[in-house]
């Protein structure tokens, strides 16, 4: 399974790992590590550099290649060991494609990804099989992702059987069934459910089966693709807490893909925001949800209806729809819907230059030419905050302050110091 290396910087996957500049954004300097990663001694579990996934559009005479749906368009990030990296974005932003490409359900167009320093893409046969054992995925649809004709023991045991060898003896039915039972137990289902079929379970239970299937191979890295969005609220919280417990129990690292901002906030340590195939912002969860610096993240946070009528947010209602990923706007993909672009008097650079995904301090990465110009007051009124809770306990009359404490330093200085 090879992939086109049409992009200039994508090396053959079996070469020793050499960091390269992500091909589609030429403004990114070729540094030693993934963009913005603090130079720590510890190697992150997963590193992704300049990942590109285009789906070709065939059409016209003789079904020629007439264009591409740019589902993922040059994404670079890393996931530390034991961390939950959340990935949010609206439908069609490429977050699910990113997950599927990472786990090799679909080959990448270009780019580089490493698991534990070892390249992921371009592996075949035995090597690929070995890799698959270390990376697993949980899908959104708990009905569609389980074969209705298989009992639970086979659904969970199938992966074990495929990975069986002399050492683990998973080929032995007894050993396998014991392991299936252990993992059913771990996800909160009864061991004796193994002979039942998927239709005998509720949605939440099916999702638990999907989790057990992924965990049975003892992976290091788990991609959760919208694992709770098909579930009811009360069941959703059960699954979220289960995922957090399992992370502790099995030392897991998650890439948690979802569209629900509050769910991602709850489970993640760091969060990335995607828009039209690109990462536009990546930061620690607290930082991103309290001090977003990309106009899109600010608008996204302001749009979430809050289950608290007392939270007064100023909604930044974005006009129009997300443009088609087959023909994304020039320059910054977001400029067609950007409120800051309008506020700044439509600066030309937004329509001509692809903004660099740069560090504006403390590992907070933003792809916006004007990230420092995002007004603090707008952010403050758009983002609900709980930083006030400790104060207001003593002052019942205060209500929710209009402007919560926000990093007050002039953003421009901070950015020039650390941005380059």
């Amino acid at each position: 399974m090879t992939f086109e290396t049409s992009e200039p910087a994508a090396p053959a996957a079996d070469q020793p790992v050499v960091p390269v500049a992500p091909p589609p954004s030429p403004s990114v300097p070729a540094t030693g590590a993934a963009v913005g990663r603090p130079p720590t001694s510890e190697v992150p579990l997963v590193e992704v550099e300049g990942l590109v996934k285009y789906y070709p559009i065939m059409g016209g005479f003789l079904r020629r290649h007439v264009g591409d749906v740019k589902a993922v368009d040059g994404v670079s990030f890393w996931v530390n060991r034991g961390e939950v990296l959340g990935l949010v974005g609206e439908s069609g932003c490429g977050k699910s494609t990113l997950g599927k490409t990472l786990i090799q359900l679909t080959p990448p167009t270009a780019g580089l990804a490493k698991l534990d320093g070892e390249p992921i893409f371009g592996k075949k046969g035995k090597d690929l099989k070995k890799l698959r054992r270390r990376m697993q995925i949980i899908f959104q649809d708990p009905v569609g992702s389980l074969n209705p004709r298989m009992p639970i023991s086979d659904i969970i045991g199938e992966g074990l059987l495929a990975q069986a060898d002399a050492e683990n003896r998973w080929g032995d039915r007894k050993v396998r069934d014991k392991r299936v039972g252990d993992y059913l137990d771990a996800v909160g289902l009864r061991r004796d459910y193994t002979r039942r079929y998927p239709h005998e379970f509720s949605g939440g239970q099916r999702q638990r089966i999907g989790i057990a299937r992924a965990l049975a191979l003892s992976p290091d890295f788990l991609i959760c693709d919208e694992p709770v969005s098909a579930l009811d609220v009360s069941i959703q919280s059960q699954i979220l807490n289960l995922l957090l417990d399992l992370r502790r129990e099995f030392d897991l690292t998650y890439l948690f893909i979802a569209h629900n901002l509050s769910v991602v906030q709850y489970i993640s340590d760091r969060v990335g925001v995607m828009y039209l195939g690109k990462l536009v912002e990546l930061a620690e969860v607290e930082e991103l949800y309290r001090r977003p610096r990309h106009p899109y993240s600010v608008a996204l946070l302001s749009a979430v209806p809050d289950a608290n009528p007392r939270v007064r947010k100023k909604r930044l209602v974005l006009t129009g729809d997300v443009p088609s990923p087959a023909a994304p706007p020039s320059g910054c993909h977001f400029h067609t819907r950007c409120w800051l672009y309008e506020q700044l008097g439509q600066p030309e650079v937004c329509t001509t230059a692809d903004p660099e995904f740069r560090d504006i301090g403390d590992g907070h990465l933003v792809a916006c030419h004007w990230a420092e110009k995002v007004p603090t007051a707008v952010v403050a009124s758009a983002v609900p905050t709980a930083e006030v809770t400790t104060d207001t306990v003593a002052m019942p009359a205060a209500g929710i302050p209009a402007a919560p404490p926000i990093d007050a330093g002039p953003p421009t200085e901070e950015a020039t110091a650390s941005g380059t």
Binding site: S91, D232, S237, L240, E286, Y289, P305, A307
Partner: protein, 434 residues
């Protein structure tokens, strides 16, 4: 059982003409029971609910899938799937006119004209082979004697109202040429075409992205206010109703378990299920350190006739009576303690053992030595309640609800007492989900 008396239905007036009656609510649902007869047996979908809706009021109906919120509204529109779905009992009075007994042609005249509905999936509710113009003109002309040109002008005006750019040209488009958000705008435009007095929106934004959802909610809120249309908003998302409605009914397994004004519901949630829901959703305004407290178990099988309180098997506050009797909706004051009667009672819950305010904030019972009553026929030792809140959750949640409540003075001493009280036995099991 309920404190509101059903308004008598005096001489049914023609629905459109009875605009001036002040005392009669626009819509009043009384003891509505809906059942589905299927091959698997009877489904007890709605089990006797009552509510009123005044002219121009906005009401939210919240609940999880299968709680009967959509069925209630299909029943109001008389659109229950036939022949399985049936209104077994009860009255649905629109301006005093009982919709349940109307003939098919009579109800058809009311649908669209007096009551309009917006569905979750705009693609399946629009006809894919007709242009928007054909569909809108057809709707308008079905109820009003206007020329095609007048109907078309009205359609353009409506599309403009919901913010569709270049409505003259977009009228010629087919539904598939619109994006999801645009289709939902078209649906809203069509629903408002005949100036209905009641608009029912069933999960209008569930299929949409957050930024589009914000647009649609804004339009709905603006149009409902401008035109004075009463709105019933059905959703599973407590966040959506929080900003949109004046009053909220929380439904569970075909019952209304809590009914309150929106500020009351969020400041003083009083039914264990509502409290559970509020503790189950991660909130953006939390500081991220609070643990979610899931509601253990899952909704009841609706093929079984409900006995006792439907929430009892999942409830941490259940007492022996909960297993055998169904508590009716009763008015309470803010502390869920004293039962009040009279028209001032805006907050009603169906619960024998209402959680106190502190317990609501904590999301778990705080009473010394209290254990949820075991199911009849088992020993008390068999049940232990798991899924309890942490001390941090208790502390972090306090200011949100209580501090800013305009409804009641705060009792600091009571809260402190609750905080100092020991952890509920079994708290150590919190992390164990099995």
């Amino acid at each position: 059982m309920t404190t509101t008396t059903p308004p008598p239905a005096p001489a049914p007036t023609a629905a459109g003409a009875a605009g001036g009656v002040a005392s009669v609510p626009l819509l009043s649902v009384r003891d509505l029971v809906v059942r589905f007869r299927t091959q698997d047996g009877t489904i007890y979908a709605v089990n006797g609910i009552d509510f009123d809706l005044a002219e121009g009021e906005t009401l939210g109906i919240v609940g999880e899938s299968g709680c009967g919120k959509s069925v209630t509204n299909l029943a109001i529109m008389r659109l229950l799937p036939k022949p399985a779905g049936r209104i077994e009992r009860g009255r649905i009075l629109l301006d005093g006119q009982d919709l349940v007994v109307l003939s098919e042609s009579e109800i058809r005249a009311i649908r669209g004209r007096d009551v309009a509905m917006i569905f979750q999936d705009p693609m399946t509710s629009l006809n894919p082979v007709l242009t928007i113009e054909e569909q809108m003109v057809e709707t308008i002309r079905a109820h009003r004697t206007t020329s095609k040109e007048e109907a078309r002008a009205r359609a353009i005006e409506l599309l403009e109202m919901v913010g569709i750019p270049k409505p003259e040209t977009r009228l010629k488009a087919f539904p598939h040429q619109f994006s999801g958000g645009m289709r939902q705008r078209v649906m809203i435009a069509m629903a408002l075409a005949l100036d209905p007095r009641l608009l029912i929106a069933d999960e209008p934004t569930t299929a949409l992205d957050v930024t589009i959802q914000a647009q649609i909610l804004e339009i709905l809120a603006r149009l409902a206010t401008e035109s004075g249309t009463a709105l019933i908003l059905i959703t599973h998302d407590l966040g959506v109703v929080a900003g949109m409605t004046k009053r909220i009914n929380v439904m569970y397994a075909g019952f209304v378990v809590e009914s309150a004004t929106t500020p009351e519901l969020f400041a003083l949630p009083s039914h264990p299920y509502t409290i559970g829901l509020l503790h189950s959703i991660p909130r953006l305004d939390s500081d991220g350190d609070e643990d979610l407290i899931p509601i253990e178990g899952r909704p009841p099988d609706q093929r079984v006739e409900p006995v006792g309180c439907p929430f009892a098997p999942r409830c941490a506050w259940r007492i022996d009576d909960c297993w055998s009797d169904n508590p009716g909706l009763a008015a309470i004051d803010g502390r869920a303690a004293v039962v009040m009667t009279g028209p001032a009672a805006t907050h009603r819950i169906a619960c024998f053992n209402p959680p106190t305010h502190d317990e609501a904030l904590a999301g778990r019972p705080l009473r010394e030595g209290f254990r949820p009553a075991p199911p009849p026929g088992t020993l008390p030792e068999d049940t232990g309640f798991e899924g309890l809140g942490s001390e941090e959750a208790l502390e972090a949640l306090e200011p949100q609800g209580a501090e800013h409540s305009p409804l009641l003075p705060r009792d600091e001493a009571l809260l402190d007492a609750g905080r100092d009280r020991g952890q509920y036995p079994g708290d150590a099991d919190r992390d164990s989900h099995r």
